[in-house]
Symmetry: C2
Subunit: 192 residues, 2 copies
């Protein structure tokens, strides 16, 4: 689910430890390379037991996934418009968010041999897809919304990454305007 109700009667204890783990990880990630961060490091920094970490996350990669999802979601919620309807403006904002998020991820989290990229990609695409699904739920079409959302999420992420990899970049806004019609067309295929 994309809709965030961060506090709906959650056990205070799990709320606490999640928070502690998160902020410990946030601290460590800007000190060390992700690879060299151990679960023990996180547990010690968070002042929780190591076993407790595993009660919340299967491993440190799951925590990374969670962190990425959370931050991307925060961007979505900040700028606009999660859990609202499909519109040209919303789609534009979404694409813009993706472009900038990838840029941030590349610059801030300097991964040595780019093991970071695939993880970010998977999580962000998932988020995009979920969001598009909620938008399309209110629209009639003879193509299943999963199909449309999947295609569009891949396309949007691919285009955003393509832009980020360029040496001489067109301004973001200009680029977004250029690919926006394509994205719209993708989502409105075979409209009823």
């Amino acid at each position: 689910m994309l809709t965030t109700l961060p506090e709906e009667k959650l056990d205070p204890r799990v709320k606490r430890t999640r928070q502690l783990v998160e902020q410990a990880f946030t601290q460590l990630i800007r000190e060390k390379e992700f690879q060299s961060i151990s679960v023990q490091d996180i547990s010690e920094r968070a002042e929780i037991n190591r076993a407790t970490f595993y009660a919340h996350f299967p491993d440190k990669y799951a925590l990374l996934d969670y962190k990425i999802r959370q931050e991307f979601r925060a961007e979505i919620e900040k700028r606009t418009l999660n859990a609202c309807h499909f519109s040209e403006d919303n789609l534009r904002a979404l694409i813009l968010t993706v472009c900038e998020f990838i840029g941030e991820a590349n610059s801030h989290c300097k991964s040595p041999h780019g093991q970071f990229g695939p993880i970010v990609e998977a999580q962000v695409k998932e988020q995009i897809r979920d969001l598009l699904m909620t938008w399309l739920a209110q629209v009639e079409s003879n193509v299943p919304s999963e199909i449309l959302a999947t295609a569009a999420s891949w396309a949007i992420y691919g285009l955003a990454q393509y832009w980020n990899d360029q040496k001489d970049r067109v301004p973001v806004n200009e680029y977004v305007e250029r690919i926006l019609p394509l994205a719209i067309a993708n989502l409105q295929l075979s409209r009823a």
Copy 2:
């Protein structure tokens, strides 16, 4: 004990909740009157269960005691010299600390009908006594150190409060110098 070893292999959970309770109380005490602060208020603010509060403190008065002790101890540790030996300089610093602490307590914690005073008095006197006991432990005398420390703690606190209640106060340092010989004499009675 006055000697503080705040973290010696204490269960992380109790460390956490103590900290949460403390900072919740600290926040509330500068918003509300102590009387109008309920255990529920503290628990909610600290995001712990109310029953958990009672697992740590018998009631809110015990928490207040604890807070006062802790802050006075912090003053002692900051300025100087806990767990060290008896000397004129140390005693002077101690008396000065007491004078200023009472002043702070009176001004900052404006209690409506002075129910605060007796609590502060009890806790601070206890702390003074403990500290003097450790000092006297290294000194020979034919009078039990409990007796000497008790008398001196009452005398010092009484004189500090007396000074605070005056309308036209002599400068602190001057006042301290005046009563210092008296305190010294008290502690060195019947020296071996």
